[in-house]
């Protein structure tokens, strides 16, 4: 298959940021197209702009894992902006990969990683540009098998019409298993066509093929059941869990683009999973149990990753990086190793904990102490009890004071709005907290130029969490509540200048809520709004709430359900949820009991906190026994040695 770049090149001078479409990243590979019968070819897509998609860890890991396999090739493709989309349609240029500029429609598989539901319309654009029928049932064996992954794939029902398969959980192992099934089918001469291939994929219970399941509904609109419609297909599909992260030290050769992207750093995942038990957090629930990467593997990855990339910043990623059993040693040893080399180290936002200030100090040993981010999430102590995030206001003030004392000038605090049982007063307490943060900060630092930024995200209930039954707050109330907070923060002039407030309006959250907890009927809404022109719904300049509500009215007419039904309605214990047949390992009754505990805590009852099972014993969430997995943590007791100094060149 030849490069189609000569078709694309004449269009590029006419679009914004053309460099994002040319590929050629350092460490990218273009393998030979290979023999049709024995080579398996994957196109991997991140359904957002290149600048967001390129740094994505999942895509980079799978790209490397697949390309290391013989007779297997993986290339990448990203969403094209509407300016290029229009030109491609005008000139008949199909969706291409950025590596070999080969048409996506010519690959055997199209793997799409959905970190968020707001990429769904971009998938439809890519399918359409690739010449792949939008509806999976209209495809034949010449079309790629469209496989969805990523966190949103834990409820793929809204895109069930458009994908052939979905995979839950870690991709490292299942991606090669799928590859071998496809290879066997291809080299046998594609017996039984597409249907037989999908049946073979579905048989093991590790790949969900939506078309092999039928959804039925009660008269009131609620889901009655999702059941297999043929023999040989399991009732439930399970998620995948990689036990030993040290065995999968990827990305080893990070992709370094010419174009500017949202993260210009080499990221190493220091552990996967989180058992802090925050009830709103889908990532923490669906990635259990915690599996650590050892300090020595982290050290080796940082060394090889920096050498292979020339990047000047290292990010130590995870859902709660300070919780690694040897985080202190990792941070100190890396800071020692790279001292004086103009290499910077960073941790993502951290829990409210004085130890995190110590870590941040160590990371910024040589550099400027600018901003430090903490995430208390709930504005009032009552809300933090509801979400199981055990931080008192005193803890917060003490931690922040330590930060200012240590020379940090700017503290960022992250909260959510619209949590279950929340009232205006819970959110207004954020203003009291922020003022107290500044007052204490001025006192301990003796300076007036310290700042605090309050960032607020709208809460969206997610599948496979204790809040999956909760009513989402409507956007009008969200907006009104945030405006009250804004006015409250402005009231006191002495503090107003030192406190910044960042928030978004509540409408995009409602669409995210519709797509997060939607069932198969929502697919018609996605298709309608896409036909009406919706693209890049995660970008405020492209997102149109009115387009979504109009599409929902058209597409859901006669179904007896509407956007409110999917979003602001609380679900009951016995309701069948659209993702109940998808097994994240979590026991549904455990989730329900935890939800009841949250409501009891909200009502002022004395409910025990759910502590972390890494240190406090099992809470019986169900994951380990049902998936045969276990907690994999240190400490290993090992330390990082300094690297050999590079001998000066003669």
């Amino acid at each position: 298959m030849e490069s189609h770049f000569p078709l694309l090149e004449p269009l590029l001078p006419r679009v914004r940021k053309p460099v994002q479409y040319v590929g050629g990243e350092l460490n990218s590979v273009v393998k030979p197209w290979g023999d049709d019968a024995t080579t398996v070819r994957w196109a991997l897509m991140y359904p957002d702009a290149y600048e967001v998609g390129l740094p994505n860890q999942g895509i980079q890991i799978l790209y490397e894992v697949l390309n290391e396999q013989p007779d297997t090739l993986a290339e990448r493709t990203y969403a094209v902006w509407p300016d290029l989309e229009a030109l491609m349609r005008e000139h008949g240029v199909p969706q291409l990969t950025v590596d070999g500029h080969r048409p996506v429609g010519a690959f055997d598989l199209l793997g799409v990683s959905f970190a968020t539901e707001l990429g769904y319309t971009n998938l439809l654009t890519a399918l359409d540009l690739a010449g792949i029928p939008l509806h999976a049932v209209d495809r034949d064996e010449t079309h790629p098998v469209v496989v969805a992954g990523g966190h949103a794939a834990f409820n793929p029902e809204p895109v069930a019409d458009f994908i052939d398969a979905a995979v839950l959980g870690d991709g490292e192992e299942i991606v090669t298993a799928i590859t071998e099934v496809v290879r066997a089918w291809k080299s046998a001469g594609r017996p039984g066509g597409r249907d037989a291939l999908l049946t073979r994929l579905a048989a093991g219970g590790g790949v969900y093929v939506p078309r092999f399941y039928d959804a039925s509904y009660h008269e009131d609109g609620r889901l009655a059941a999702v059941t297999p419609n043929r023999d040989g297909v399991p009732d439930r599909v399970h998620k995948h869990t990689v036990a030993d992260l040290d065995a999968w030290p990827y990305p080893a050769k990070p992709l370094v683009p010419l174009a500017e992207t949202v993260h210009e750093r080499y990221s190493v995942e220091i552990f996967r999973g989180c058992t802090r038990g925050c009830r709103f957090c889908q990532a923490g629930m669906i990635t259990r149990p915690v599996r650590e990467r050892s300090i020595t593997t982290v050290g080796e990855m940082v060394d090889t990753g920096l050498k292979a990339s020339g990047l000047a910043e290292v990010g130590l990623l995870s859902l709660s990086s300070a919780d690694h059993s040897e985080i202190g040693e990792i941070v100190t040893d890396l800071a020692d190793r790279y001292e004086g080399s103009n290499t910077s180290l960073s941790l993502p936002s951290t829990r409210v904990d004085a130890f995190n200030v110590t870590l941040a100090n160590e990371l910024s040993r040589n550099g400027r102490r600018s901003g430090l981010t903490f995430a208390p999430e709930g504005g009032s102590e009552r809300m933090r009890k509801v979400i199981n995030k055990m931080v008192t206001s005193d803890d917060l003030i003490r931690t922040v004071a330590t930060a200012y004392q240590n020379g940090w000038r700017h503290v960022k605090l992250y909260f959510m709005c619209g949590l279950p049982t929340e009232t205006d007063d819970d959110v207004l307490e954020i203003a009291d907290l922020a003022r107290e943060v500044i007052r204490t900060g001025r006192e301990v630092s003796g300076r007036r130029d310290i700042r605090c930024t309050v960032s607020i995200g709208g809460f969206v209930p997610k599948p496979h969490t204790p809040f999956q039954w909760a009513a989402q707050l409507d956007h009008a109330t969200t907006d009104a509540r945030l405006h009250r907070l804004r006015d409250e923060l402005r009231r006191d002039r002495d503090y107003a200048k030192a406190i910044g407030l960042r928030y978004h309006d509540g409408k995009p959250g409602i669409v995210e809520g519709l797509l997060s907890r939607g069932d198969r009927r929502v697919g018609a809404v996605i298709e309608q709004v896409w036909r009406d022109g919706a693209r890049f719904d995660g970008w405020s300049e492209h997102f149109s709430y009115d387009a979504w509500t109009a599409a929902a009215e058209t597409a859901l007419a006669g179904a007896g359900v509407d956007v409110d039904w999917y979003t602001t309605r609380e679900r009951g214990h016995d309701e069948v949820l659209p993702w109940d047949h998808l097994d994240s390992g979590l026991d549904k009754q455990w989730l329900w009991d935890d939800w009841q505990d949250a409501l009891d805590a909200a009502a002022g009852e004395d409910v025990d906190d759910v502590e972390d099972c890494r240190w406090d014993g099992c809470y019986f969430c169900g994951v380990c026994p049902s998936l045969g997995s276990s907690i994999e943590i240190g400490p290993t007791g090992r330390r990082l040695l300094p690297l050999e100094p590079v001998p000066p060149r003669p």
Binding site: P10, P18, V22, G24, L258, K307, R368
Partner: protein
């Protein structure tokens, strides 16, 4: 590579220097930057075979070894042509201002060489061709005709597809006349409207020999 912006190029170069273990000198202060002097680069969308940068090192290095290590570390499409020790004068001296010029090659696909030749004739016959340009200080005009030292056309049609090549020597200055200004001028005075965007490449830049009109090597 021609679609990379100046900033894209600079990031790629700085990363390659790190990968190649070139001992760069850094500026002092809160956020140290490598000491690299960049000169006005080609616009996004324009290719170049003649860009120059000056890199400050902490220690002396053999230029040939730096060239090899850096070549290996750069992404495909970026190549090191030559590395020499700094000449003791700022690199900008032979490359900027009215005394310097660039050689540009412009490929016009689907344009007949005779048509391009005629358009160029009309352009050269004009005493001045002013095109608008927006600069940091607002909108201004540049005289493209005055900056054009010489130009020639050749026919590179093949397989029945017309293709004409324009090669032009254009004087630098402030604001500098760019190849797209020349294209604007050709459109304005001679009505040349290429059906597909022409592909522009800088072939050389350096001090202009005022008598012969040749562009000399800035490193010699």
């Amino acid at each position: 590579m021609r679609f990379a912006s100046v900033r894209d190029f600079q990031r790629a170069l700085e990363r390659a220097l790190r990968r190649a273990d070139v001992p760069m000198a850094y500026s002092q202060g809160f956020s140290p930057h490598p000491k690299i002097s960049y000169l006005p680069a080609v616009q996004t969308g324009v290719a170049s075979e003649a860009e120059y940068v000056e890199i400050g090192l902490q220690q002396e290095r053999d230029p040939q070894q730096v060239a090899t290590a850096l070549s290996d570390a750069l992404p495909d499409g970026l190549e090191v042509v030559e590395v020499t020790a700094a000449a003791g004068r700022p690199l900008g001296e032979p490359l900027t201002g009215e005394a310097a010029a660039s050689v540009w090659q412009v490929r016009f696909d689907d344009v007949d060489a005779a048509a391009l030749h005629d358009a160029l004739g009309v352009f050269l016959a004009a005493t001045s061709v002013r095109v608008p340009r927006s600069t940091k200080s607002g909108r201004t005009e540049v005289d493209v005709r005055a900056a054009l030292i010489s130009a020639s056309v050749r026919d590179e049609s093949h397989d029945g597809r017309a293709c004409a090549i324009l090669e032009a020597v254009v004087r630098h200055g402030t604001p500098s006349v760019r190849p797209d200004d020349v294209l604007t001028g050709l459109r304005d005075v001679a009505g040349l409207a290429p059906p597909v965007p022409p592909v522009v490449t800088r072939l050389a830049q350096g001090p202009l020999d005022e008598t012969t009109g040749a562009v000399l090597d800035p490193l010699s």
